[in-house]
Amino acid sequence: MLNMTNLNLSIPTEGAAKLDLIIDLGQSGLVTPEFYWSSAQTTDGSEQELMLHEALSKIEEGLILKVNGRRQMLALTDLNLEAISLDAIINPLTPQMARISYELQSVKLSTEDIVELQLASSIDVPWPCLVRVDAFANLPASRLLTEETRSSGAILLGLPGQREESDFLLALTLQFQSASPALSWLAVGFQHVVPDGADHIAFILGLFFLSSRLTTLIGQVTLFTVAHSITLTAAIFGWVSAPSHLIEILIAASIIYVAVDNLYEEQSQRWRALAVLGFGLLHGLGFASALGSLELPQDTTLSALLFFNLGVEVGQLAVLVMAFACVGWFRQQPFYKRRIADPASVTIAGVGLYWFTKRLAIYLF
């Protein structure tokens, strides 16, 4: 335990990223304690490298640094061998640590990049191995590699090091981002509808139960999408703002409106498009408020926003597909409105009324 291994990845805002491996080389099995001692006795750095060439090659083969899923080449920059005596090297209770420093020269890293550190099964080190990543976030990120878990998993450089919660969805998002950074925002957008956006789902279902005509539904959902994209973008860039508690109350009111409107569609059809447009603008502000708790990358805000929006649309589509799968088969049936659409709309109106009352009460009291 005293001679556990450390892997420190440091990513400065300017210049090349540095990776330091701090390892009890004499206890690692890569060299014998005697050989480590004689290498450490050599004062010439290049001669040390030459002596330890075989061990260093094995380390370079087994030490894997991936950026966005692609393995990076590491250039050895420094070798520092601590050794007070051969006895100390032999005794694991007096660890004599070697610091092996590498540079990552060819890649310029940004807050959107994902890194992953691995120790392949081809090498063994004194376990466990503590990984520390200092990057753009205020806090470092820490991970632990063990004989059983040899990968740090994906570490998003723009995220604060502290992980508030082990969240499966967040982990999934990060895995997505390993393949393509933009995909993570798509996943975040999706999650804002399914499963986090119950009120948004209710509104979409309200639109679904309006009409048996698919073209009407597509038209209204598109209008809604365009509208909430406008206010979401405007809010993210600080062009508009509104108190979130008021927005939440109005969103609940919008759910009641669409649900009640479904019951009297013949009378209100002409105003429907206008109302959906207005409510879309409202829901966009709601998304902006939810998105406010996440840190959008400063240098690629627009692409992150685009993919977030796309994720919201995919989420909406998922809700509609589910609704179709459940009751869409009966849309042309004469009993559809009376037996399915109207009871569903009444239920949605009731849920909207519940949210409206509760949110208003919280606001007032």
């Binding site: 335990m1 005794n91 209770l93 205020n138 991970r143 878990t149 502290q162 019951l263 509760k358």
Partner: protein
């Protein structure tokens, strides 16, 4: 007529949901209370499981679970698995639990700490009608023999991993003036005072539980070899603990290891996996005062023997008092 029917139905749905809300809010409170006015009692085992002559033949559980009281558990890693025989702690509050330290063995097969903690949490939730308890995985300090099984918790739902760097630890507990600051920490109605205690390790913290009056001192003060990498920091920390014990009643000083035998000044051999006739793990105020006295007298590097602990002042860790 149609309008009225729809309206009544919608209002019924809303009313039903509001009634459910109301029922939950008016139902009998399941909140646990942790009064600070008196010391909540607890007990220690007469003897901790302490390894065996042959580690290979040891059949004791990998993790000894001791229920100190209803809402406080002390765990110990089997010494036959790792000679450190480290103690770990689980404190419960309303909807929150705090796990301090994760032992000296990483392998879940050898040392199933996650499984053990999950069972403790689940049994505790059943007994006290609690649910959705959020687990905080924290550390007394950042030495590998106290976080080896940390990885077992990283994919645990509803869990906060405090982190294994100094910066993450300071950020989580809210230190802006480490180590002098005292932090008030609320574990779901159970109040703790946390302060910095570097010296053995530079990110170490101590926890005082206002409910049980336990003062948890980690590796900086225990019945064993107090390896001090920074003497000045440790002597300031031990005084800080004394000051805390002056300001709050302390029932027991609890910690991470037992390395002393029952014979004053004599420790078990380093690395032993069998410690028959162990003294208690918990320590007393008199022992703390002795450590504070030592802090004011010692001014040289070296090994200093006391009845209940040994001070290894800035000497290599392998130096021992073993014959």
């Amino acid at each position: 007529m149609l309008k009225l029917k729809h309206s009544i139905a919608a209002i019924s749905v809303a009313s039903g949901l509001l009634m459910v809300d109301l029922a939950f809010s008016l139902g009998p409170s399941r909140a646990l209370v942790f009064p600070e006015s008196a010391t909540a009692p607890g007990s220690f085992p007469d003897q901790w499981i302490h390894g065996s002559k042959s580690a290979m033949d040891n059949e004791d559980p990998a993790v000894q679970v001791h229920r100190y009281n209803d809402h406080t558990y002390i765990l110990r890693e089997n010494k036959a698995i790792n000679y450190e025989g480290a103690f770990m702690y689980v404190f419960f509050g309303n909807e929150k639990a705090l796990l301090i330290d994760q032992g000296s063995t990483s392998s879940p097969a050898l040392f199933p700490l996650r499984k053990t903690v999950d069972k403790i949490v689940s049994d505790w939730e059943s007994e006290f009608k609690q649910s959705n308890t959020h687990l905080i995985v924290a550390n007394s300090h950042l030495h590998g023999d106290h976080y080896a099984a940390w990885n077992q918790f990283v994919d645990r739902p509803n869990t906060t991993m405090v982190g294994l760097t100094h910066e993450e630890v300071m950020n989580y507990w809210g230190f802006s003036n480490y180590p002098n600051q005292r932090i008030e920490f609320d574990l779901g109605g159970r109040e703790f005072v946390i302060t910095g205690t570097p010296g053995h390790e530079s990110s170490e913290i101590a926890f005082y539980d206002k409910w049980t009056d336990l003062l948890y001192t980690g590796d900086m003060f225990y019945r064993g070899r107090l390896y001090l990498q920074d003497w000045d920091a440790w002597s300031a920390s031990i005084r800080r603990l004394q000051s805390l014990a002056n300001d709050y009643p302390v029932s027991h000083f609890v910690n991470n290891h037992i390395e002393m035998t029952n014979t004053p000044t004599i420790d078990y051999p380093i690395g032993t996996t069998w410690q028959p006739n162990e003294p208690p793990m918990q320590m007393t105020r008199a022992m703390l005062d002795e450590a504070v006295n030592a802090a004011s007298k010692i001014d040289q590097a070296g090994i200093y023997k006391f009845d209940d602990f040994l001070i290894y002042n800035e000497v290599p860790w392998a130096y021992t008092t073993d014959p």
